[in-house]
Symmetry: C2
Subunit: 250 residues, 2 copies
Protein backbone atom coordinates (compact mmCIF):
# COMPACT_ATOMS: atom_id res chain seq x y z
CA UNK A 1 0.00 0.00 0.00
CA UNK A 2 1.29 3.42 -0.99
CA UNK A 3 1.54 6.42 1.31
CA UNK A 4 0.01 9.72 0.34
CA UNK A 5 2.74 12.28 -0.33
CA UNK A 6 2.18 16.01 -0.57
CA UNK A 7 4.29 17.61 -3.27
CA UNK A 8 3.35 21.29 -3.43
CA UNK A 9 1.15 23.82 -1.64
CA UNK A 10 -0.64 26.78 -3.17
CA UNK A 11 -2.79 29.34 -1.41
CA UNK A 12 -5.12 31.35 -3.60
CA UNK A 13 -7.92 33.65 -2.46
CA UNK A 14 -8.18 32.04 0.96
CA UNK A 15 -8.10 28.43 -0.24
CA UNK A 16 -5.11 26.14 0.38
CA UNK A 17 -4.67 23.54 -2.37
CA UNK A 18 -2.10 20.82 -1.75
CA UNK A 19 -0.96 18.64 -4.64
CA UNK A 20 -0.36 15.03 -3.67
CA UNK A 21 0.37 11.64 -5.18
CA UNK A 22 -0.74 8.25 -3.95
CA UNK A 23 1.40 5.85 -5.96
CA UNK A 24 0.75 6.99 -9.53
CA UNK A 25 -2.52 8.80 -8.74
CA UNK A 26 -2.12 12.60 -8.69
CA UNK A 27 -4.62 14.62 -6.69
CA UNK A 28 -5.30 17.91 -4.95
CA UNK A 29 -6.60 18.46 -1.42
CA UNK A 30 -8.49 21.77 -1.10
CA UNK A 31 -9.16 23.33 2.30
CA UNK A 32 -9.26 26.55 4.27
CA UNK A 33 -5.86 28.23 4.77
CA UNK A 34 -5.22 26.35 8.03
CA UNK A 35 -5.84 22.87 6.58
CA UNK A 36 -8.74 20.41 6.74
CA UNK A 37 -9.61 20.95 10.42
CA UNK A 38 -11.99 17.96 10.49
CA UNK A 39 -14.43 19.51 7.99
CA UNK A 40 -16.59 16.95 6.15
CA UNK A 41 -14.93 15.65 2.99
CA UNK A 42 -16.26 16.06 -0.57
CA UNK A 43 -14.81 13.90 -3.35
CA UNK A 44 -15.11 16.04 -6.48
CA UNK A 45 -14.91 14.18 -9.82
CA UNK A 46 -14.07 15.97 -13.07
CA UNK A 47 -15.71 15.51 -16.46
CA UNK A 48 -14.28 13.82 -19.54
CA UNK A 49 -11.28 15.52 -21.11
CA UNK A 50 -10.54 17.75 -18.10
CA UNK A 51 -8.46 17.30 -14.94
CA UNK A 52 -8.04 17.83 -11.19
CA UNK A 53 -7.32 21.58 -11.46
CA UNK A 54 -9.57 22.49 -14.41
CA UNK A 55 -11.52 25.75 -13.85
CA UNK A 56 -14.79 23.90 -13.14
CA UNK A 57 -12.97 21.96 -10.42
CA UNK A 58 -11.18 24.89 -8.80
CA UNK A 59 -14.38 26.97 -8.98
CA UNK A 60 -16.48 24.27 -7.32
CA UNK A 61 -13.72 23.49 -4.80
CA UNK A 62 -13.61 27.18 -3.83
CA UNK A 63 -17.38 27.23 -3.24
CA UNK A 64 -17.31 23.96 -1.30
CA UNK A 65 -14.46 25.15 0.93
CA UNK A 66 -15.53 28.76 1.47
CA UNK A 67 -19.33 28.57 1.38
CA UNK A 68 -19.85 24.92 2.31
CA UNK A 69 -17.15 24.57 4.95
CA UNK A 70 -15.80 21.37 3.37
CA UNK A 71 -12.44 19.81 2.62
CA UNK A 72 -12.38 18.79 -1.07
CA UNK A 73 -10.38 16.19 -3.02
CA UNK A 74 -9.91 16.09 -6.76
CA UNK A 75 -7.99 13.38 -8.67
CA UNK A 76 -6.84 13.04 -12.24
CA UNK A 77 -8.95 10.21 -13.64
CA UNK A 78 -7.14 7.47 -15.59
CA UNK A 79 -6.03 8.88 -18.95
CA UNK A 80 -6.58 12.49 -17.80
CA UNK A 81 -4.50 15.43 -16.57
CA UNK A 82 -0.96 14.42 -15.62
CA UNK A 83 -1.60 10.72 -16.23
CA UNK A 84 -0.50 8.78 -19.31
CA UNK A 85 -2.98 8.24 -22.11
CA UNK A 86 -2.97 4.74 -23.55
CA UNK A 87 -3.55 3.76 -27.16
CA UNK A 88 -7.10 2.83 -26.08
CA UNK A 89 -7.65 6.30 -24.65
CA UNK A 90 -6.44 7.91 -27.86
CA UNK A 91 -8.63 5.66 -29.99
CA UNK A 92 -11.77 6.20 -27.86
CA UNK A 93 -11.32 9.97 -27.71
CA UNK A 94 -10.80 10.12 -31.48
CA UNK A 95 -13.94 8.03 -32.04
CA UNK A 96 -16.00 10.37 -29.79
CA UNK A 97 -14.70 13.45 -31.56
CA UNK A 98 -15.46 11.92 -34.95
CA UNK A 99 -19.01 11.04 -33.87
CA UNK A 100 -19.60 14.58 -32.57
CA UNK A 101 -18.20 16.12 -35.75
CA UNK A 102 -20.49 13.88 -37.81
CA UNK A 103 -23.52 14.74 -35.66
CA UNK A 104 -23.87 11.10 -34.60
CA UNK A 105 -24.93 10.05 -31.07
CA UNK A 106 -21.95 9.84 -28.70
CA UNK A 107 -23.72 8.02 -25.85
CA UNK A 108 -23.01 4.54 -27.28
CA UNK A 109 -19.29 5.42 -27.31
CA UNK A 110 -19.02 7.44 -24.08
CA UNK A 111 -20.95 4.92 -21.96
CA UNK A 112 -18.66 1.90 -22.42
CA UNK A 113 -15.44 3.97 -22.51
CA UNK A 114 -16.33 5.73 -19.27
CA UNK A 115 -17.35 2.40 -17.70
CA UNK A 116 -13.85 1.19 -18.46
CA UNK A 117 -12.35 4.32 -16.85
CA UNK A 118 -14.70 3.93 -13.87
CA UNK A 119 -13.58 0.33 -13.30
CA UNK A 120 -10.08 1.73 -12.72
CA UNK A 121 -11.09 4.99 -11.02
CA UNK A 122 -13.41 3.54 -8.35
CA UNK A 123 -10.66 1.58 -6.52
CA UNK A 124 -8.42 4.64 -6.84
CA UNK A 125 -10.97 6.87 -5.10
CA UNK A 126 -11.39 4.28 -2.36
CA UNK A 127 -7.62 4.01 -1.86
CA UNK A 128 -7.25 7.80 -1.70
CA UNK A 129 -10.12 7.98 0.80
CA UNK A 130 -8.41 5.29 2.93
CA UNK A 131 -5.14 7.24 2.85
CA UNK A 132 -6.77 10.62 3.57
CA UNK A 133 -8.70 9.25 6.53
CA UNK A 134 -5.40 8.19 8.10
CA UNK A 135 -4.18 11.78 8.13
CA UNK A 136 -4.60 13.29 11.60
CA UNK A 137 -6.16 16.47 10.17
CA UNK A 138 -9.02 14.54 8.54
CA UNK A 139 -9.84 11.49 10.64
CA UNK A 140 -11.56 8.23 9.86
CA UNK A 141 -15.06 8.96 11.05
CA UNK A 142 -16.18 12.17 9.34
CA UNK A 143 -19.00 12.46 6.78
CA UNK A 144 -18.06 12.00 3.11
CA UNK A 145 -19.92 13.21 0.03
CA UNK A 146 -19.34 12.90 -3.72
CA UNK A 147 -19.95 15.43 -6.49
CA UNK A 148 -19.36 14.91 -10.21
CA UNK A 149 -21.18 15.35 -13.53
CA UNK A 150 -20.69 13.75 -16.95
CA UNK A 151 -17.72 11.36 -16.60
CA UNK A 152 -17.73 12.38 -12.94
CA UNK A 153 -21.12 10.66 -12.77
CA UNK A 154 -19.99 7.61 -14.77
CA UNK A 155 -17.35 7.15 -12.05
CA UNK A 156 -19.48 8.45 -9.18
CA UNK A 157 -22.43 6.09 -9.58
CA UNK A 158 -20.44 2.83 -9.21
CA UNK A 159 -18.33 4.52 -6.50
CA UNK A 160 -21.33 5.61 -4.41
CA UNK A 161 -23.01 2.23 -4.98
CA UNK A 162 -20.04 0.34 -3.55
CA UNK A 163 -18.55 2.76 -0.99
CA UNK A 164 -20.64 2.95 2.19
CA UNK A 165 -18.65 5.89 3.59
CA UNK A 166 -20.30 8.19 1.00
CA UNK A 167 -23.64 9.39 2.37
CA UNK A 168 -24.79 12.05 -0.15
CA UNK A 169 -23.99 12.72 -3.82
CA UNK A 170 -24.46 15.29 -6.58
CA UNK A 171 -24.60 13.60 -9.99
CA UNK A 172 -26.03 14.18 -13.46
CA UNK A 173 -25.70 14.56 -17.21
CA UNK A 174 -25.14 10.94 -18.21
CA UNK A 175 -26.86 8.13 -20.09
CA UNK A 176 -28.41 5.22 -18.16
CA UNK A 177 -27.26 2.16 -20.11
CA UNK A 178 -23.92 1.49 -18.41
CA UNK A 179 -24.70 2.87 -14.91
CA UNK A 180 -28.42 2.35 -14.09
CA UNK A 181 -27.74 -1.10 -12.57
CA UNK A 182 -25.43 0.60 -10.03
CA UNK A 183 -27.89 3.49 -9.49
CA UNK A 184 -30.57 0.98 -8.44
CA UNK A 185 -28.37 0.03 -5.47
CA UNK A 186 -27.94 3.62 -4.28
CA UNK A 187 -30.13 4.75 -1.37
CA UNK A 188 -28.32 7.87 -0.10
CA UNK A 189 -29.72 11.37 -0.87
CA UNK A 190 -29.00 12.49 -4.45
CA UNK A 191 -29.15 15.82 -6.28
CA UNK A 192 -29.17 15.14 -10.03
CA UNK A 193 -28.64 17.70 -12.83
CA UNK A 194 -29.91 17.51 -16.41
CA UNK A 195 -30.05 19.95 -19.30
CA UNK A 196 -33.44 20.07 -21.03
CA UNK A 197 -31.95 20.80 -24.47
CA UNK A 198 -28.90 18.54 -24.18
CA UNK A 199 -27.71 17.77 -27.70
CA UNK A 200 -26.03 14.53 -26.53
CA UNK A 201 -28.24 13.06 -23.80
CA UNK A 202 -31.91 12.57 -24.78
CA UNK A 203 -34.41 13.73 -22.15
CA UNK A 204 -35.87 10.25 -21.69
CA UNK A 205 -32.37 8.86 -21.10
CA UNK A 206 -31.53 11.43 -18.44
CA UNK A 207 -34.91 11.02 -16.72
CA UNK A 208 -34.55 7.22 -16.77
CA UNK A 209 -31.24 7.49 -14.94
CA UNK A 210 -32.73 9.80 -12.29
CA UNK A 211 -35.60 7.35 -11.92
CA UNK A 212 -33.21 4.44 -11.34
CA UNK A 213 -31.85 5.64 -7.98
CA UNK A 214 -33.41 3.80 -5.04
CA UNK A 215 -32.94 6.86 -2.81
CA UNK A 216 -36.06 8.05 -0.98
CA UNK A 217 -34.54 11.56 -0.94
CA UNK A 218 -33.65 12.54 -4.49
CA UNK A 219 -33.99 15.85 -6.32
CA UNK A 220 -33.76 16.47 -10.05
CA UNK A 221 -32.73 19.89 -11.33
CA UNK A 222 -33.42 20.41 -15.02
CA UNK A 223 -32.49 23.66 -16.73
CA UNK A 224 -33.24 24.96 -20.19
CA UNK A 225 -30.10 24.92 -22.29
CA UNK A 226 -27.61 22.71 -24.08
CA UNK A 227 -25.10 20.23 -22.63
CA UNK A 228 -22.45 22.75 -21.65
CA UNK A 229 -24.88 25.45 -20.49
CA UNK A 230 -25.49 24.16 -16.94
CA UNK A 231 -26.21 27.37 -15.00
CA UNK A 232 -23.64 28.44 -12.42
CA UNK A 233 -26.29 28.56 -9.71
CA UNK A 234 -26.35 24.74 -9.80
CA UNK A 235 -22.86 24.75 -8.25
CA UNK A 236 -24.31 26.87 -5.42
CA UNK A 237 -27.23 24.47 -5.11
CA UNK A 238 -24.87 21.46 -5.00
CA UNK A 239 -22.92 23.11 -2.19
CA UNK A 240 -26.11 23.74 -0.21
CA UNK A 241 -27.33 20.17 -0.80
CA UNK A 242 -24.06 18.69 0.46
CA UNK A 243 -24.02 21.07 3.43
CA UNK A 244 -27.58 20.06 4.35
CA UNK A 245 -26.66 16.38 4.45
CA UNK A 246 -23.03 16.26 5.54
CA UNK A 247 -23.03 18.94 8.23
CA UNK A 248 -26.21 17.42 9.67
CA UNK A 249 -24.29 14.13 9.91
CA UNK A 250 -21.21 15.77 11.43
Amino acid sequence: MHTLEFTADTTSDGVLSRDFVLGDIPGVLWSGPDGPGRAPLVLLGHGGGTHKRAPAMSGRADLLVKVGGFTVVTLDAPGHGDRPRTATDDREVAAMQAAMAAGEPVGPLVGPYNADIAARAVPEWRAVLDALQQLPGIGADGPVGYSGLNMGTAIGIPLVATEPRITAAVLGQFWPETVAHFARRITVPIEFDLQWDDEHIPREAGLALFDAFASTEKSLHVNAGRHKELPRFEADSATRFLARHLHRAA
Copy 2:
Protein backbone atom coordinates in the same frame (compact mmCIF):
# COMPACT_ATOMS: atom_id res chain seq x y z
CA MET B 1 -63.01 51.28 -9.65
CA HIS B 2 -62.73 50.31 -5.99
CA THR B 3 -60.16 51.66 -3.55
CA LEU B 4 -58.03 49.32 -1.52
CA GLU B 5 -58.99 49.56 2.17
CA PHE B 6 -56.88 48.21 4.99
CA THR B 7 -59.01 46.63 7.74
CA ALA B 8 -56.61 45.18 10.34
CA ASP B 9 -52.88 45.02 11.09
CA THR B 10 -51.05 42.15 12.74
CA THR B 11 -47.35 41.95 13.56
CA SER B 12 -45.95 38.50 14.21
CA ASP B 13 -42.29 37.52 14.49
CA GLY B 14 -41.08 40.61 12.69
CA VAL B 15 -43.58 40.49 9.81
CA LEU B 16 -46.40 43.03 9.45
CA SER B 17 -49.48 41.54 7.76
CA ARG B 18 -52.23 43.97 6.81
CA ASP B 19 -55.66 42.63 5.87
CA PHE B 20 -57.33 44.57 3.09
CA VAL B 21 -60.31 44.46 0.78
CA LEU B 22 -60.58 45.71 -2.76
CA GLY B 23 -64.33 45.65 -3.43
CA ASP B 24 -65.25 42.08 -2.49
CA ILE B 25 -61.72 40.68 -2.82
CA PRO B 26 -60.06 40.06 0.57
CA GLY B 27 -56.27 40.00 0.74
CA VAL B 28 -53.24 40.38 2.95
CA LEU B 29 -50.17 42.55 2.38
CA TRP B 30 -47.09 41.11 4.13
CA SER B 31 -43.99 43.25 4.74
CA GLY B 32 -41.27 44.11 7.21
CA PRO B 33 -42.47 45.82 10.39
CA ASP B 34 -42.07 49.30 8.86
CA GLY B 35 -44.16 48.58 5.76
CA PRO B 36 -43.33 47.83 2.12
CA GLY B 37 -40.50 50.36 1.75
CA ARG B 38 -40.31 49.90 -2.02
CA ALA B 39 -39.25 46.26 -1.82
CA PRO B 40 -40.05 44.22 -4.97
CA LEU B 41 -43.54 42.71 -4.87
CA VAL B 42 -44.37 38.98 -4.93
CA LEU B 43 -47.94 37.88 -5.69
CA LEU B 44 -48.38 34.61 -3.78
CA GLY B 45 -51.25 32.37 -4.91
CA HIS B 46 -52.69 29.64 -2.65
CA GLY B 47 -53.66 26.10 -3.61
CA GLY B 48 -57.15 24.65 -3.99
CA GLY B 49 -59.18 24.45 -0.77
CA THR B 50 -56.93 26.80 1.21
CA HIS B 51 -56.82 30.59 1.65
CA LYS B 52 -54.82 33.81 1.99
CA ARG B 53 -53.61 33.08 5.54
CA ALA B 54 -53.23 29.28 5.34
CA PRO B 55 -49.98 28.02 6.98
CA ALA B 56 -48.30 27.40 3.60
CA MET B 57 -49.02 31.04 2.70
CA SER B 58 -47.91 32.62 5.99
CA GLY B 59 -44.79 30.40 6.01
CA ARG B 60 -43.81 31.35 2.46
CA ALA B 61 -44.71 35.01 3.06
CA ASP B 62 -42.42 35.02 6.14
CA LEU B 63 -39.52 33.62 4.08
CA LEU B 64 -40.14 36.03 1.21
CA VAL B 65 -40.25 39.04 3.53
CA LYS B 66 -37.45 38.13 5.92
CA VAL B 67 -35.02 36.20 3.73
CA GLY B 68 -35.99 37.54 0.30
CA GLY B 69 -36.55 41.19 1.22
CA PHE B 70 -39.91 41.28 -0.59
CA THR B 71 -43.37 42.69 -0.02
CA VAL B 72 -45.92 39.88 -0.50
CA VAL B 73 -49.61 39.85 -1.41
CA THR B 74 -52.04 36.98 -0.89
CA LEU B 75 -55.70 36.97 -1.95
CA ASP B 76 -58.60 34.63 -1.28
CA ALA B 77 -59.32 33.06 -4.68
CA PRO B 78 -62.97 32.96 -5.79
CA GLY B 79 -64.86 30.39 -3.69
CA HIS B 80 -62.06 30.24 -1.10
CA GLY B 81 -61.34 31.62 2.39
CA ASP B 82 -63.71 34.43 3.36
CA ARG B 83 -65.45 34.44 -0.02
CA PRO B 84 -68.83 32.87 -0.78
CA ARG B 85 -68.93 29.40 -2.29
CA THR B 86 -71.47 29.03 -5.08
CA ALA B 87 -73.51 25.95 -5.87
CA THR B 88 -71.01 25.27 -8.68
CA ASP B 89 -68.12 25.40 -6.19
CA ASP B 90 -69.89 22.94 -3.89
CA ARG B 91 -70.68 20.58 -6.77
CA GLU B 92 -67.14 20.67 -8.21
CA VAL B 93 -65.47 20.16 -4.84
CA ALA B 94 -67.79 17.22 -4.07
CA ALA B 95 -67.01 15.67 -7.46
CA MET B 96 -63.23 15.97 -6.84
CA GLN B 97 -63.52 14.45 -3.40
CA ALA B 98 -65.62 11.59 -4.76
CA ALA B 99 -63.07 10.93 -7.52
CA MET B 100 -60.20 10.90 -5.00
CA ALA B 101 -62.08 8.58 -2.65
CA ALA B 102 -62.78 6.24 -5.58
CA GLY B 103 -59.13 6.35 -6.69
CA GLU B 104 -60.11 7.89 -10.03
CA PRO B 105 -58.01 10.55 -11.80
CA VAL B 106 -58.86 14.06 -10.60
CA GLY B 107 -57.02 15.98 -13.32
CA PRO B 108 -60.00 15.93 -15.73
CA LEU B 109 -62.12 17.57 -12.98
CA VAL B 110 -59.53 19.94 -11.44
CA GLY B 111 -58.34 21.33 -14.78
CA PRO B 112 -61.64 22.77 -16.04
CA TYR B 113 -62.84 23.82 -12.56
CA ASN B 114 -59.60 25.70 -11.87
CA ALA B 115 -59.70 27.26 -15.35
CA ASP B 116 -63.10 28.65 -14.40
CA ILE B 117 -61.69 30.02 -11.12
CA ALA B 118 -58.69 31.44 -12.99
CA ALA B 119 -60.91 33.31 -15.45
CA ARG B 120 -62.28 35.21 -12.46
CA ALA B 121 -59.05 35.37 -10.42
CA VAL B 122 -56.75 36.79 -13.14
CA PRO B 123 -58.59 40.14 -13.46
CA GLU B 124 -58.76 40.29 -9.65
CA TRP B 125 -54.98 39.96 -9.33
CA ARG B 126 -54.50 42.63 -11.98
CA ALA B 127 -56.93 45.01 -10.23
CA VAL B 128 -55.18 44.43 -6.87
CA LEU B 129 -51.80 45.05 -8.49
CA ASP B 130 -53.14 48.30 -10.01
CA ALA B 131 -54.42 49.41 -6.61
CA LEU B 132 -51.25 48.44 -4.74
CA GLN B 133 -49.02 50.25 -7.18
CA GLN B 134 -50.93 53.45 -6.43
CA LEU B 135 -49.94 53.26 -2.77
CA PRO B 136 -47.02 55.61 -2.07
CA GLY B 137 -45.18 52.90 -0.11
CA ILE B 138 -45.10 50.56 -3.13
CA GLY B 139 -44.92 52.60 -6.28
CA ALA B 140 -45.80 51.86 -9.88
CA ASP B 141 -42.41 50.92 -11.28
CA GLY B 142 -40.98 48.20 -9.02
CA PRO B 143 -40.32 44.59 -10.08
CA VAL B 144 -43.18 42.09 -9.62
CA GLY B 145 -43.00 38.29 -9.32
CA TYR B 146 -45.58 35.53 -8.94
CA SER B 147 -45.42 32.34 -6.89
CA GLY B 148 -48.09 29.64 -6.67
CA LEU B 149 -48.42 25.86 -6.97
CA ASN B 150 -51.41 23.61 -7.74
CA MET B 151 -54.43 25.94 -8.16
CA GLY B 152 -51.92 28.76 -7.65
CA THR B 153 -50.39 27.60 -10.94
CA ALA B 154 -53.76 27.21 -12.68
CA ILE B 155 -54.30 30.89 -11.90
CA GLY B 156 -50.65 31.92 -12.22
CA ILE B 157 -50.04 30.66 -15.75
CA PRO B 158 -52.81 32.72 -17.44
CA LEU B 159 -51.92 35.65 -15.14
CA VAL B 160 -48.21 35.63 -16.04
CA ALA B 161 -49.08 35.10 -19.72
CA THR B 162 -51.24 38.23 -19.83
CA GLU B 163 -49.65 40.54 -17.24
CA PRO B 164 -46.42 42.13 -18.51
CA ARG B 165 -45.56 43.60 -15.10
CA ILE B 166 -44.71 40.09 -13.82
CA THR B 167 -41.10 39.30 -14.76
CA ALA B 168 -40.38 36.00 -12.91
CA ALA B 169 -42.57 33.18 -11.59
CA VAL B 170 -42.47 30.04 -9.43
CA LEU B 171 -45.05 27.51 -10.62
CA GLY B 172 -45.68 23.77 -10.57
CA GLN B 173 -47.76 20.70 -9.75
CA PHE B 174 -50.48 20.98 -12.37
CA TRP B 175 -51.71 19.19 -15.48
CA PRO B 176 -51.06 20.70 -18.93
CA GLU B 177 -54.43 20.35 -20.67
CA THR B 178 -56.09 23.61 -19.58
CA VAL B 179 -53.00 25.83 -19.19
CA ALA B 180 -50.30 24.77 -21.70
CA HIS B 181 -51.63 27.17 -24.36
CA PHE B 182 -50.98 30.05 -21.92
CA ALA B 183 -47.59 28.60 -20.89
CA ARG B 184 -46.46 28.73 -24.53
CA ARG B 185 -46.83 32.54 -24.40
CA ILE B 186 -44.67 32.92 -21.28
CA THR B 187 -41.06 33.99 -21.80
CA VAL B 188 -40.03 35.23 -18.32
CA PRO B 189 -37.76 33.09 -16.07
CA ILE B 190 -39.64 30.19 -14.43
CA GLU B 191 -38.86 27.81 -11.56
CA PHE B 192 -41.22 24.84 -11.78
CA ASP B 193 -41.83 22.17 -9.10
CA LEU B 194 -43.00 18.59 -9.62
CA GLN B 195 -43.25 15.55 -7.37
CA TRP B 196 -41.82 12.38 -8.95
CA ASP B 197 -44.34 10.09 -7.22
CA ASP B 198 -47.38 12.36 -7.48
CA GLU B 199 -50.47 10.20 -7.16
CA HIS B 200 -52.60 12.75 -9.06
CA ILE B 201 -50.35 14.27 -11.75
CA PRO B 202 -48.63 11.73 -14.05
CA ARG B 203 -44.92 12.42 -14.68
CA GLU B 204 -45.43 12.88 -18.41
CA ALA B 205 -48.18 15.43 -17.75
CA GLY B 206 -46.03 17.48 -15.38
CA LEU B 207 -43.02 17.34 -17.70
CA ALA B 208 -45.18 18.34 -20.70
CA LEU B 209 -46.29 21.46 -18.85
CA PHE B 210 -42.68 22.41 -17.96
CA ASP B 211 -41.77 21.85 -21.60
CA ALA B 212 -44.53 24.19 -22.79
CA PHE B 213 -43.03 27.40 -21.36
CA ALA B 214 -41.30 29.50 -24.03
CA SER B 215 -38.88 30.90 -21.42
CA THR B 216 -35.19 30.60 -22.27
CA GLU B 217 -34.45 30.58 -18.52
CA LYS B 218 -36.48 27.84 -16.89
CA SER B 219 -35.60 25.37 -14.14
CA LEU B 220 -37.47 22.23 -13.15
CA HIS B 221 -37.16 20.89 -9.61
CA VAL B 222 -38.42 17.34 -9.21
CA ASN B 223 -38.35 15.63 -5.83
CA ALA B 224 -39.07 12.05 -4.82
CA GLY B 225 -42.37 11.86 -2.95
CA ARG B 226 -46.13 12.15 -3.31
CA HIS B 227 -48.27 15.17 -4.17
CA LYS B 228 -48.28 16.74 -0.72
CA GLU B 229 -44.67 15.87 0.13
CA LEU B 230 -42.97 18.82 -1.61
CA PRO B 231 -39.84 19.37 0.52
CA ARG B 232 -39.66 22.56 2.55
CA PHE B 233 -36.33 23.46 0.98
CA GLU B 234 -38.22 24.23 -2.25
CA ALA B 235 -39.75 27.27 -0.50
CA ASP B 236 -36.17 28.42 0.23
CA SER B 237 -35.23 27.77 -3.39
CA ALA B 238 -38.26 29.72 -4.64
CA THR B 239 -37.24 32.68 -2.46
CA ARG B 240 -33.68 32.59 -3.85
CA PHE B 241 -34.97 32.31 -7.43
CA LEU B 242 -37.23 35.34 -7.03
CA ALA B 243 -34.46 37.30 -5.28
CA ARG B 244 -32.05 36.51 -8.13
CA HIS B 245 -34.44 37.89 -10.73
CA LEU B 246 -36.37 40.67 -8.97
CA HIS B 247 -33.58 42.27 -6.97
CA ARG B 248 -31.41 42.25 -10.08
CA ALA B 249 -34.18 44.18 -11.83
CA ALA B 250 -34.67 46.58 -8.91
